[in-house]
């Protein structure tokens, strides 16, 4: 089933997430996991900061010459016997994939984890057309069975507990012995592996995403920790790579530089367990590999970001460091963001891809604490870009009228020091009167969003400026 975006309902989604004790437990585990491991491996690599600059420069260079690199890439894929398909938008991309599946006579399609596939709605598209789609990434497999969208771009089922996974498997897997334990991670992976093995062999088509598309060789590179990508792409007769344009990188050497950052930033590993390079269909001397190799290059809004203040976002390598370290993501999880990309990177990418109208909340839902930028391996100026979206929505008149009026009133006085000083004195006096010198207010009109959860500390008395003018240096 297709999952329609619910980004417009971010506050309601967030409320529900905060009230969900199971989710809250899962988010607590996430916070104690990846950031700690990341800090350890980053500390072990003295050139990490230098590598961030190198990686940023590589991507900036690639984006500046993206048209040229895409053409070089295409020529090299064709040279090794593959096919390149250009898709301007989600619909074209899905149609292209489906057409290849039809041509291959596919009934079963295995699929590795791919965020761009989520973005273009490929899963629902294939399901609706009768394809038996099997997700081979464990997390994706779990949420496929539960008919849920991913809540994280690296660990899509991070919101699901082990107990829930056990229940899901019992409901979905016929003939599963009810006495069989499914409480440990090992049991869960064994059970999933057993189910998936035969699908790998049955599948006519295997679909993967790509972490990098390498121009000089026409290669695509994916990283996984489960090895499911290798099985998906080598065992099926047809391998389809679905990748967005900005996955392009000039050389293998460039890719290796960025790979040194990817796993460290993401899961806190030095390197992912599997880094798999595919170069086209099986050659006569190869032991295995697909008979046909297709790459579907998806634009879906990327070229519109080039040359704009949003271009920096195209450097993103989907490592998830930003969301792993984000206190807002950590409080509400990924589903609250309402679309494929959650957390800080989603707060920038979602408005760029689906429009700011349906996602106006996301760039506002940040305290600008800056932790995302601090850990972003590609040095994407996330808060600056969120602020840019805030400016756009302010210009378009979005945002509550009370908030706008309050801010307008504040700005009016703050621009007029002669009016501001007496107003500040009056405000201080009024707040103190209201609190009857108790130090805090339990309730304050026009500030109920504050006093719902917090007391409002009242002023000490007077303003600094008036006391200073009187000369009462204390």
């Amino acid at each position: 089933m297709a999952h329609a975006p619910t980004s417009h309902a971010f506050p309601e989604n967030a409320r529900a997430a905060l009230d969900d004790p199971i989710l809250q437990r899962a988010l607590g585990n996430l916070k104690r996991g990846f950031p700690v491991k990341r800090a350890e491996v980053v500390a072990d690599l003295p050139e990490f900061e230098l590598l961030r600059d190198v990686a940023r420069d590589i991507k900036n260079h690639t984006l500046a010459h993206l048209d040229a690199y895409l053409e070089i890439y295409e020529a090299n894929v064709v040279k090794s016997g593959g096919h390149v398909h250009w898709a301007r938008n989600a619909e074209e991309a899905c149609e292209t994939v489906m057409a290849i599946c039809r041509e291959a006579g596919a009934k079963t399609v295995t699929k590795g984890k791919s965020m761009v596939a989520e973005e273009i709605g490929l899963n629902a598209y294939l399901d609706d057309r009768g394809i038996d789609r099997v997700e081979t990434d464990l997390g994706e497999y779990i949420i496929q069975l539960r008919d849920e969208p991913p809540s994280h771009i690296i660990v899509p089922a991070v919101h699901v507990t082990k107990e829930q996974i056990g229940e899901t498997f019992r409901a979905a897997h016929d003939g599963l012995d009810p006495r069989r334990g499914l409480s440990e991670s090992r049991d869960i992976t064994d059970e999933a592996r057993g189910q998936l093995r035969e699908k790998y062999f049955a599948a006519e088509v295997g679909i993967t995403g790509a972490n990098f598309l390498i121009a000089e060789s026409g290669s695509s590179v994916i990283v996984t920790n489960e090895g499911n990508g290798d099985l998906t792409q080598t065992l099926a007769k047809v391998h389809i790579v679905v990748a967005s344009l900005e996955k392009m990188i000039p050389t293998m050497e460039d890719a290796l530089a960025v790979l040194r950052l990817l796993a460290r930033s993401s899961t806190g590993q030095e390197f992912s367990v599997y880094t798999t390079v595919s170069n086209g269909p099986r050659r006569s001397e190869d032991l295995d590999g697909p008979d046909a190799y297709h790459v579907v290059l998806v634009d879906n809004g990327r070229t519109a970001m080039l040359g704009t203040e949003n271009q920096d976002m195209l450097r993103c390598i989907r490592c998830a460091a930003c969301m792993n370290h984000c206190p807002v993501y950590g409080a509400v999880g990924g589903h609250a963001y309402g679309w494929v990309y959650p957390g800080p990177m989603g707060a920038v990418l979602t408005p760029s891809l689906i429009g700011v109208e349906g996602s106006a909340h996301l760039p506002h839902a940040s305290t600008f604490c800056g932790r995302c930028e601090q850990v972003c391996p590609m040095k994407i100026p996330l808060t600056k870009m969120m602020r840019h979206y805030r400016e756009r929505s302010y210009q378009n008149g979005h945002g509550g009228s009370i908030a706008r009026n309050a801010l307008g009133l504040w700005s009016y006085f703050a621009s007029r020091p002669r009016l501001y000083a007496p107003m500040a004195r009056i405000a201080s006096w009024m707040l103190r009167c209201l609190s009857r010198d108790r130090g805090v207010l339990r309730w304050l009109p026009f500030a109920t969003a504050w006093t719902r959860y917090r007391d409002f500390p009242t002023p000490q008395g007077g303003t600094f400026m008036s006391a200073y003018r009187r000369g009462d240096l204390e």
């Binding site: 600008f368 805030r390 500390p457």
Partner: protein
């Protein structure tokens, strides 16, 4: 005494414009007086420009660039002629030093002035330690204390060791580290009223971290964060007290803590 003691130096004293910040002006004047005491003890001549109001950060972060610009324009006039601009707040200092010039992209003359001001603007404790090499005045405060790193000061300005090194010299003060000293308290300016549920969840986690650290007082360099944490602690009936770091460094730790009357 300070390394920059004017009596020991032939250079004219450093003229510092104190930007007291709108929150200190309204909620906690004692922080402004503490800042003056510290700056003067470090050998500075402190001026408090009368025409100051706010740095414009609420408007800037809400996307209201025009208001931010108009407030910033007034700020440039108010602080013209000071050698340095110093604020007892990391986020206001970061607004001045990192963002102000961007507001005048289309006006080279104003942008030049904004850049000049940005280069001279500092957060209080980092100014004292990094620029003046000042190690503090004799101060006393009894109790176990934690310092919360406010986000802008920490990440935009690198304020981390400076307040701690000064606090380590305060007599009777036992400095402890929070497990999550660098995690946002959930204030975030207008964020705390735009997304109160999430802000509250973050404040709640912050308070739990504080409670489990065994301190009786939490210090920070930003009044916004302090009001948020103190307000949350008060609502939850916690006995933890919240104070601005400048007050403790200036030996002014006996007045009622934020949101307290005794």
């Amino acid at each position: 005494m300070s390394a920059n003691d004017p009596s020991g130096s032939r250079k004219p004293p450093i003229k510092v414009g104190l930007f007291v910040t709108c929150l200190v002006d309204l909620f906690r004047p004692s922080v402004g007086f503490a800042a003056i005491k510290l700056l003067e003890s470090a050998g500075c001549v402190v001026e408090v420009p009368e025409a100051q109001t706010c740095c414009g950060q609420p408007a800037f972060n809400s996307g209201d660039r025009r208001s931010a610009r108009s407030i910033a324009r007034g700020f440039l006039d108010a602080f013209e002629g000071c050698d340095y601009v110093v604020a007892p707040s990391g986020s206001c200092a970061a607004m001045l030093s990192r963002h102000l010039p961007k507001l005048f992209d289309d006006d080279p003359a104003l942008q030049h002035r904004a850049r000049h001001l940005a280069a001279r603007s500092h957060e209080l404790t980092s100014f004292l330690v990094d620029i003046l090499g000042f190690s503090g005045i004799s101060a006393r405060f009894a109790g176990a204390v934690a310092y919360h790193d406010s986000c802008s000061g920490l990440r935009d300005l690198g304020v981390k060791s400076q307040p701690r090194s000064m606090l380590s010299k305060v007599e009777g003060l036992e400095l402890k580290e929070l497990q999550e000293a660098e995690t946002c308290c959930g204030f975030g300016g207008t964020f705390c009223v735009k997304y109160p549920d999430i802000s509250n969840a973050m404040a709640d986690k912050k308070l739990s971290d504080i409670e489990s650290s065994g301190v009786s007082t939490v210090l920070a360099g930003d009044l916004g964060c302090l009001l948020n944490m103190a307000g949350k602690a008060s609502r939850e009936g916690s006995s933890i007290e919240f104070r601005h770091v400048a007050e403790i460094l200036a030996g002014d730790g006996s007045r009622p803590a934020i949101g307290r009357t005794r």
